[in-house]
Symmetry: C2
Subunit: 416 residues, 2 copies
């Protein structure tokens, strides 16, 4: 686009696929934004789409090798209805706390399909996990000792894997989880010894967990990292002297949030994996191989809806003040570990097919300048009571935001 | 300190005054960290000190002109016990939502001492505030219309002030709330007309609210801003044609969080204010003059205590993995709207008088690299079950953090 054609204001992130227009409004699961809000009893409201989740999973299954198991990391979105829906779609679940284990159990999901990673597991969490047949991805030698001792005490054989701190990370990932000194996992060179010790102690050996980064949009980087993960796993398995029963290859599959972001080329990743899977070393030939994805599976399937409470003009700029805010959408506001604030995709849900005509700020109701949902987006002109939509709200929205800030409380959430 | 004397690692913020050592441990309100944790039933735990709050208020009263009313902005910390304790110490309260009004009412505080600012007030919030005789700091012309209409409908005279978007901000403040286009308040030049309209409509005229920024450590900047605020208020009052019954001059008094921060020189601010108060224009001669402080009153009075669950070494660096984390201490982790991460003051509470001997990372239990409470601090060597203290935790800690992230849940809070 030439400079002359560039729209005014600041760019918005790309609208995800799968959202429709009905009666001029944003429609999700066949219902308009206004209908969804009315049914929920008001705004602010997170709407999660079964259809978009299912389509994402379908495309992913098609692209990935049949042998690859796909797990859901529930930290992205652990709403009970989302968990129940995922139960039939994915092969396993990954959790990060005893609280998440309770959510899994409340949803009726078989906990033996679950593995648990997290650097500060307390004894009560280890005990609950061992009782429930959850696989523990051990983060340190001392955590291994505690898990073995608790298993002994309970008379239950613990299912133990080791989380590896690899000596490489995922290039271009939004969040690096390996390479150099890290609080996660056991440094790669110490893993074989710990593995042998766990096996000797009579635990059920569940292999390795190697997580290298998250939110990468470069297929090339993921392909390279997955190759490195398979190589490292083979090296560790060989040094341990036991083939790997299971290898969790981590995640890292990103979604487009910002202007210029391109969707991840999962077909390229799948083709490369297929090739590697055709030529696996002996240590991995019979391994259960899986990836764990959170954001990729549900991120694009969620929309955050809030209502315009006030429309203000200050020094010539227009502000749509909504009843939502960073207390539900911390990352979208640009305040969650972000250096440069950029806009998530946003729209006026009640004027979804109207042409953009005005640069408008979308802010929340909190009394802080941090509370900006969209900065100078070029949008249809909105009025009080219009509904605003912020996309990419399916992951790390409701669950990762300070809902109680300024006495506000949580948003409603609905799966349609 | 010369380069040769510089301690290893990264600097920690300055320890606040008022914390003591007892039996080698950090003591608050005469009890050691271990005792406090035991009484609370475990970690993580926020401890708030009555004594430190009271001392802060005492010094502030001494420094400020007797005429100046001091309000507490409860957004900083709205724990019920803190609210009840503040009721006798401060002159009024400032709230930012209907939820905060409910907290005020639950604490038995007379709501006529309260004013309510916030850009997205919903009708139910305006109604609850008007019923409770809360002063509304109106953020726009349309909010004024809604408030007047609701007052009419209820048959209650609403108490209305106007929040001004000033044409200047507070230099050196951590968060600018004025100057240029803002979602807060009414642009200064439109305030007189709105003021006359409100008075003509028969509302109780409560004057102006001018908030220019927060977390400033420069007395000079605050002195200059307060002078500007008084001038602007006089100009608006003169244009409105009515003396000001009340002027809320905002806040902005900061606390030292980081290495190199110096405490605010409140005596200088008080002396400058005293001088101005001696020479007020006619429009302000009889005004109720107040400031509203949140962080300054309670920030230094809080400590966050968490337990070391694991002590790990990775590539030669030591990590203390605790059962706390950014889900309670978002700002301390450097992820709440911060560009450059710096360390809050931190200590090993159970080895409070021990000499520092090792560079240690303090991380939380969350499975994300964002979850760092202290980066490479030079501290006494800590072991599993030691208690870590993060200071400056009295404001925007529990209330401004995503407690439910990764299924964790809130910390306990206690006022001692």
């Amino acid at each position: 686009m030439s400079a002359a054609e560039k729209p005014p204001g600041k760019p918005l992130g790309p609208l995800p696929q799968g959202y429709e227009t009905f009666n001029g409004q944003l429609a999700i699961g066949g219902q308009t934004a206004a209908q969804l809000v009315q049914q929920a009893g008001g705004t602010p409201l997170f709407v999660y789409s079964r259809e978009i989740i299912a389509n994402t999973m379908m495309r992913l299954r098609e692209a990935m090798p049949a042998r690859l198991h796909i797990n859901y990391a529930i930290k992205a979105n652990s709403h009970p209805d989302v968990l129940s829906y995922m139960a039939d779609l994915v092969d396993g679940f990954d959790i990060a706390s005893g609280g998440e284990l309770e959510k899994i159990q409340a949803s009726g999901i078989d906990a033996s399909r679950v593995s648990f990673a997290g650097p500060g597991k307390r004894d009560w969490e280890l005990e609950a996990a061992i009782r429930a047949s959850v696989t523990l991805n051990l983060e340190s030698e001392s955590e291994a000792e505690r898990a073995l001792a608790i298993g002994n005490q309970l008379g239950i054989t613990p299912r133990l894997a080791i989380r590896v701190n690899p000596d490489f990370d995922m290039k271009g990932s939004g969040m690096k989880m390996g390479g150099g000194a890290k609080p996660f996992g056991v440094d790669a060179e110490r893993v074989p010894e710990l593995g042998r010790k766990i096996i000797a102690a009579g635990a059920e050996w569940r292999g390795l967990h190697i997580y290298t980064g998250s939110q990468a949009l470069s297929a090339e980087a993921i392909i390279e990292t997955q190759a490195n993960v398979l190589e490292l796993a083979d090296r560790i398995a060989t040094d341990t002297g036991h083939p790997l029963p299971k290898l969790n290859m981590g995640g890292g599959y990103g979604i487009p949030y910002f202007h210029g972001d391109e969707p991840l080329d999962i077909e390229a990743i799948g083709a490369a994996l297929e090739e590697r899977f055709g030529d696996l070393p002996a240590s991995l030939k019979d391994s259960h191989l899986c990836i764990e994805l959170g954001r990729y599976l549900v991120g694009l399937a969620g929309v955050y809806l809030c209502r315009v409470v006030d429309r203000k003009v200050s020094h010539g700029e227009t502000f749509l003040v909504t009843d939502g805010g960073l207390h539900h959408q911390l990352a979208a506001s640009g305040n969650f570990g972000t250096v440069v604030r950029r806009n998530y995709p946003a729209a006026i849900a009640t004027r979804f097919d109207a042409p953009p005509e005005e640069v408008q700020h979308i802010v929340g109701c909190l009394c802080t300048p941090l509370d900006k949902l969209s900065d100078k987006g070029f949008l249809p002109r909105a009025e009080v009571d219009d509904i605003v939509a912020i996309f990419c709200a399916g992951a790390y929205g409701a669950s990762a935001s300070p809902a109680q800030f300024l006495g506000q409380g949580p948003a409603q959430e609905v799966l349609v």
